[in-house]
């Protein structure tokens, strides 16, 4: 009997969490198919009919697909770079002993702690000197120095890559670099997938940086375009929700592809 109760309770809690997780997404989706006025006056639970109208209004304001493309062009390379170099750097810290290792690692950690609101001005000056203003580079190249990837993968490499495997490879005459590419990387794919999703989202939603660095409207990324839709006077909430909805789609797509990797990789560990 006690077993039954706890089972039911557990199922109930899980269900609650499920609903809590999904409802806001659902509301965003539903709201994007309603008129601005209806959105603000009632709680809409079923899809409405103004979806196409909202989309057209959206396209009149800005070309949302251009913003989509721009966001993609920044985010994809960033994710690749941060995943690969994050792993490389983490590997360096995890499996090798060298002087100043602790200090350097603390620097990596410390770099996460700086509030970013103000450094944006210094960031602008820097990129001005480098001639990178109004390009996408200031958001792609820093992927090589992505501290959160390093921090996360460092722990993962320590846990999942046995020294014995590496020794065996060295016996066979592999260079260190090859060991990294062919042994370490495959071991930590779930970790890279996890941090990649995380970095994808943070790069995709990056607002302040692109706003300050980019000066041509045709290079603006999605978050900026969504903000311009808000408008000076009246807000077309329908168009805004449609834009938000469009901006979530690629994230969900990438996520559904990568998440299988995380789950697959995580459960492999248990079956070992």
């Amino acid at each position: 009997m006690k077993y039954y109760i706890s089972k039911v309770l557990t199922a109930f809690l899980l269900l609650c969490l499920l609903i809590i997780s999904i409802v806001p997404f659902y509301l965003v989706m539903v709201n994007s198919t309603y008129d601005s006025v209806k959105i603000v006056t009632q709680l809409n639970l079923l899809p409405g009919l103004s979806g196409w109208k909202n989309y057209k209004a959206l396209q009149q304001h800005t070309n949302i697909w251009l913003g989509f493309r721009n966001s993609l062009l920044i985010t994809a390379p960033f994710v690749l770079l941060s995943g690969y170099f994050g792993a490389l750097t983490a590997f360096g810290f995890a499996k090798y002993e060298f002087k100043a290792k602790r200090i350097l690692f603390s620097i990596v950690l410390a770099s996460l702690m700086l509030p970013t609101q103000l450094s944006i001005i210094g960031f602008y000056f820097l990129n001005l000197k480098l001639g990178l203003i109004n390009t996408f580079w200031p958001f792609i190249i820093p992927g090589i120095a992505n501290a959160s990837a390093v921090f996360f993968l460092h722990g993962m490499i320590q846990q999942s890559v046995p020294d014995s495997m590496m020794e065996a490879a060295r016996m066979e005459g592999c260079t260190e670099f090859r060991i990294f590419n062919q042994i370490v990387m495959p071991c930590i794919i779930p970790g890279i997938a996890t941090i990649s999703i995380f970095n994808f989202v943070s790069s995709w939603n990056n607002y302040m940086g692109p706003l300050i660095i980019l000066s041509e409207a045709k290079k603006f990324t999605m978050p900026i375009l969504i903000a311009t839709i808000k408008g000076v006077y009246l807000s077309n909430y329908g168009a805004m929700y449609m834009a938000i909805f469009i901006s979530i789609i690629p994230i969900i797509l990438i996520y559904s592809v990568l998440s299988r990797y995380i789950i697959h990789g995580l459960t492999i560990g248990a079956e070992k």
């Binding site: 994809a76 390379p77 203003i133 706003l211 311009t228």
Partner: protein
């Protein structure tokens, strides 16, 4: 499973390469030899774009590139670009309450000088509007195509019920003092009708009713009109005379269609952008009355960057937008906005009225108001001080004593601007 990963990876790599191609930069449109000047303009809203086609057809050698920047971020963007000296737009815009800072900071060209000679046009613009873009030395720095006189935008049917008339002049009279306003508010409240959309609506009016600006000779001045406003607001909030939400929230906007709200006390853009677009079933039931105290609030101002290389071209565009009767008339007809040139407004006052207002022509009322006299009260601290004061008003309305609320206000002022002397 591995296949999926490979596909995703391939996609990412493809995108990286594409990005490389794009990031390498598009070939610059060579202007060597060609005589087309391109103007860079940063605007805070879409409205400015309406002027571009007309302008470009009249000036085929000038192209105008308008970039819309989200309102809240115009200042950060301007600061980074001006501090670095590179990439500053030729013309940039800011809202009326922030523009004073830019105007006083010597960033805009003084338009009184040659070749602009703006003073030739001074008497064509409403003086109150012109003074916002004028700095404390009298230099005209920024102009606008809008004027924003305040008004009471009210419901005729509700007015009939409580005043026996819906005539604008009578409405103004019925609400002309705080005491009268509150009495009417109470009467309406008995039937569940709110007299005004938000206590904040009245703030702009009271701010203009001051005799002194916020800061005089470095010292903070809290005008008695504002102290009176605190009590007014406390009554409104406490007794539920307004909707209880902030301005520009969805519920506030939707109240156009509600049957339990009497009025919005807003400038002309309030009619243009809140009431008119939202009035469906209530179309024809609205009207506009002059406020008891004339005031202006809001609007977008634009000037020419001091360091631009394209002064003449920039001036041509600025003139077209702010000083050209034909283009302003065309803009007003298309958008219904109230503009800055007297002649255009007078012409529009003679035309047909608005359906939403039951046939009333808003230009008539606004013209009379703009011809009145206004004190020049703006300072560079305005937007922050206004916000801080509203916070204090809310605190007072929610239970703090007046003294506590004012002390909170003074502390906020010192926190934001330690150079101001506060007693």
């Amino acid at each position: 499973m591995r296949k999926n990963l490979r596909i995703t990876l391939a996609l990412f790599v493809m995108l990286t390469i594409t990005s490389l191609m794009f990031a390498a930069g598009q070939p610059e449109k060579t202007t060597a030899g060609s005589s087309v000047t391109t103007l860079e303009v940063w605007s805070r809203g879409e409205e400015l774009k309406q002027f571009v086609p007309g302008f470009e057809s009249e000036h085929p050698t000038i192209k105008v590139n308008v970039t819309v920047i989200p309102d809240a971020d115009m200042t950060p963007k301007l600061i980074t670009v001006i501090a670095s000296g590179k990439g500053v737009p030729d013309l940039f815009m800011q809202e009326a309450s922030y523009i004073t800072y830019l105007v006083e900071a010597d960033l805009y060209t003084d338009l009184r000088q040659a070749p602009f000679n703006v003073e030739a046009y001074s008497n064509q613009i409403w003086p109150a509007t012109l003074s916002v873009g004028t700095d404390s030395t009298g230099a005209v720095r920024a102009l606008t195509w809008q004027s924003c006189p305040g008004s009471i935008i009210y419901r005729r049917d509700i007015a009939q019920k409580y005043f026996g008339t819906d005539e604008p002049a009578r409405i103004t009279d019925q609400l002309s003092t705080d005491a009268k306003f509150l009495t009417v508010a109470e009467r309406m409240k008995q039937d569940g009708v709110r007299i005004v959309s938000s206590f904040k609506d009245l703030f702009d009016m009271k701010v203009a009713a001051r005799t002194k600006p916020w800061v005089v000779e470095g010292k903070l001045v809290i005008d008695s009109a504002l102290l009176a406003y605190m009590d007014m607001a406390k009554n409104i909030i406490g007794k539920g005379y307004d909707l209880g939400v902030d301005q520009w929230t969805p519920e506030w906007i939707a109240a156009v269609e509600a049957d339990d709200m009497f009025s919005y006390v807003l400038p002309s853009w309030g009619y243009q952008y809140v009431v008119k677009p939202g009035a469906n079933t209530t179309s024809g039931k609205w009207a506009i009355a002059a406020p008891p105290v004339p005031y202006i609030s809001g609007g977008s101002y634009m000037g020419i960057y001091k360091g631009t290389q394209k002064k003449e071209a920039a001036w041509e565009f600025l003139k077209y937008v702010t000083l050209n009767e034909e283009s302003q008339y065309a803009y007003a007809k298309a958008s219904g906005d109230y503009v800055s040139l007297k002649a255009v407004n007078e012409r529009l006052a003679k035309e047909k009225g608005e359906a939403v207002l039951g046939g009333q022509n808003p230009y008539e009322i606004y013209n009379v108001e703009m011809a009145g006299s206004f004190n020049k009260l703006n300072t560079i601290y305005d937007s922050q001080l206004n916000n801080a004061f509203i916070s204090a008003v809310k605190a007072y309305a929610e239970g703090k004593s007046k003294e506590q609320a004012l002390n909170q206000f003074k502390a906020d002022v010192l926190n934001a601007f330690p150079e101001i002397i506060v007693e």
